[in-house]
Assembly symmetry: C2
Homo-oligomer: 256 residues x 2
């Protein structure tokens, strides 16, 4: 075998073992998390900074994205835009608060970098939603069954922590149930503390929305269905998630 040919074969093996799709998904979901952090951090900064001139606004709009949009529309005096963002009643609250504001007046020159920061936050929010829809299409393509049950973000996080779709497909339901709760699991094994009922799966609305006593049972039912869905995605490539979901809903209605 020639040297070049040998190299090409080695390359093909390496490329395959890197599991491209899995890695694309994992990077996309980590990017969503990074962008989330960034939006929260920069928005705290914006609230402090713009708070010099209008400290009362923060408590009216705690949500990062809303706050940044309101600051921009307010400073540009765009009344129409403000009415798109909030109700007339709340708008009057803003104007009342501004009249009696304890904030200091700052010059246009001092406002400019603050508004630049607000714009940057909004464009980061936009980037996050673009990455999220990309992630959704990627998950629907690679693992339509798991995605149907869990939604793209949770699916991507499961893949990230399992190490890929095949790895997830080879896990028993009981492992999937506690993925992401490794710390609590080892504490249980070593020191006999109560075992974790769920890890990442807590992010699924059917668990986070349930009462505390039911969560363990729901997590068990959900992880059983995910285990089947992952096997279908990795091996048979049939779409069976609608049936799995119906079964799951039936099981949920039985849990008391």
């Amino acid at each position: 075998m020639e040297r070049r040919e040998f190299f090409e074969r080695a390359k093909a093996i390496v490329q395959k073992s890197l599991k491209k799709k899995d890695r694309l998904i994992v990077n996309a979901v980590h990017t969503v998390d990074d962008l989330n952090n960034e939006i929260n951090q920069l928005s705290e900064r914006l609230k402090d900074w713009y708070g010099i001139s209008f400290p009362e606004l923060e408590s009216l709009f705690p949500d990062p994205e809303k706050y940044a949009s309101i600051v921009l529309a307010l400073e540009k005096n765009e009344k129409e835009q403000l009415l798109k963002l909030t109700s007339e009643e709340k708008l009057n609250q803003i104007f009342d608060a501004r009249k009696d504001s304890l904030g200091a007046e700052i010059t246009e020159n001092d406002k400019k970098p603050i508004l630049d920061l607000a714009k940057s936050i909004l464009s980061t929010v936009e980037l996050r939603s673009r990455v999220e829809s990309y992630l959704e299409s990627l998950c629907n393509e690679l693992c339509p069954n798991v995605s149907y049950l869990c939604g793209p973000l949770l699916t991507a996080r499961l893949l990230a922590i399992a190490g890929g779709l095949e790895e997830l497909a080879e896990m028993p339901a009981s492992t999937i149930q506690v993925l992401g709760a490794e710390k609590a699991l080892f504490k249980h094994i070593k020191r006999g503390s109560p075992p974790p009922k769920h890890g990442l799966l807590f992010q699924h609305p059917i668990i986070s929305g349930a009462s505390k006593e039911k969560r363990g049972k729901i997590a068990r039912a959900l992880s059983a269905k995910i285990a089947i869905a992952a096997k279908a995605d990795a091996f048979t490539h049939h779409f069976i998630a609608d049936k799995l979901k119906a079964d799951l809903e039936k099981r949920l209605s039985e849990i008391k």
Copy 2:
């Protein structure tokens, strides 16, 4: 006194006590730090993500800003832009590395969010430099003397940790010398470990660039001049920093 008048007076007192300029400076420097963090974090993410298709590029351009610019120009096939960013020699290294790359081919659709991330990093870099020049003009206005000795970023950090310009002006040189090294200072007081030689001042190039033995002496000389400069900025408003700097340089030449 009428209620309204009473309120207006109280408002004036609160607004004054909030020390507007100091707070603008502190917020601007914290924003620079936040944006720095963000640029570094997102650029690590970009290296991982784009690394799926071209892992070898990262070691050629470790700098975050350079890496993001190269990725964009490379993917858009802009040879002129690439030649502006790097030398012809290095460009050939890129093309050689790409020919034998162990990366996987990814579709245009998979590349899009990666390139969006790269663009977002570059616009954050731009925002950082705008906030930095704003910070510089603000420091030159509020404390031209300290700024002349320390540059805008270090000046702003000193103000942030001291709590404002007046607070800084009231500090003895020995306190300024160890500002930002509170942990080491208390360890010295409680447990008798060696006292810190410098805190934040280490960021000044005449200290970070000096040999280890000289740093303590230089920090002492520098903090003495900063203490005088801060008093001038807060109280007399004379510009004396050129003389202070000349004195400092004379003193530095004597330190062996």
